[in-house]
Amino acid sequence: MIANYGYKDGSGEYFIGIDTDKCNGCGDCVPVCPAKVLEMVADQYDPLSDKIVAAVREEERKKIKYTCAPCKPASGRALLPCMLACAPGAIAHSW
């Protein structure tokens, strides 16, 4: 399942998509995020399974445009640490 966390407003669409089928629950993405946006939780959208997956923390979901901004400079943008850390490639950013 692809869980999209984020929002859309007048300035654009800001979603972090986590593919829970690809996510292996390793948790490598959690410490590399300088803003501590991610956490490991039981899959909320499949309540009957016990799988642990990465998710965007509840309190960050409505402001990720700003929280993620330091990793996304207008020029000279490097690859995002969360995406680099994810071996199965489960994390995607929409902007």
């Binding site: 399942m1 692809i2 999209n4 929002y7 859309k8 407003d9 959208y45 309540p47 409505k62």
Partner: protein, 290 residues
Amino acid sequence: MAEIQEYWRWTEYSWHHPEMDWRQGKRIAAGIDVGSVSSQALVLVDGQIFAFSNLRTGSNSPDSANNAIKTALKDTGMEIKDLQYTVGTGYGRVNVPFANRAITEIACHARGANFMAGPKVRTVLDMGGQDCKAIHCDERGKVTNFLMNDKCAAGTGRGMEVMADLLSIPIKDIGDLSFQVDEEPQPVSSTCVVFAKSEALGLMRSGWSKNMVLAAYCSAMAHRVSLLLGRIGVEDQFFITGGIAKNPGIVKRLEQELGIQAVKSQHDSQIAGALGAGLFADTLLQKGAQ
């Protein structure tokens, strides 16, 4: 002084199965959906819908949950202590005092839609009081992709309530009246509730009829949710849950824009969240949950 009328107010009601004898049932599961605007309670006996209620959420979530379940169980002889397993969902899911577990409303809406409209449903649009969710699910009602917009109330039931109040039109009439126009007007440019309100006032001042304003607002709202749906991809069959599903002004315009018809269901699709929660409670009971 004239009596103040609350144009936004919709009918609260409850329903219970006229013949089913719950005392014969082995599993009694309940789902409580405490939303931002409305609360539903639903009771399943052996996996069949036994009773439900649909009320307005008050300022206090635990009270709303209690009222909802009491209203659903009224005249049935069942009491809260007879419920074997209860799942809370929705905006106030952690505040349901008698719930055994809380499950996110996205999983519940998909599951509820799967039960109400059949396993062929792939796209579920939940237009709630304060947010709007587009959900893609598989044949078992399991979520495969979803998108939620809860940052702003544009394109939601709350926006409709504001419009009803502004134009002094009972909320249940909005959909039908929005079709009573000579020609479909341009959609309002803003679906933001605050901006749309001032835009509506401006249009009326320049001579638009109330029906024209409603038509313009409904089509703007339909367009907005169609964009949200576009991001996850719309697949037949398509089902709408939540209060806005009762507004033909939006549903028909959305169907036109998407080019597919929404599936109709026997019960009010506003209970889909509570139904999904009840179904999860029922499954957990079967798995031996206490």
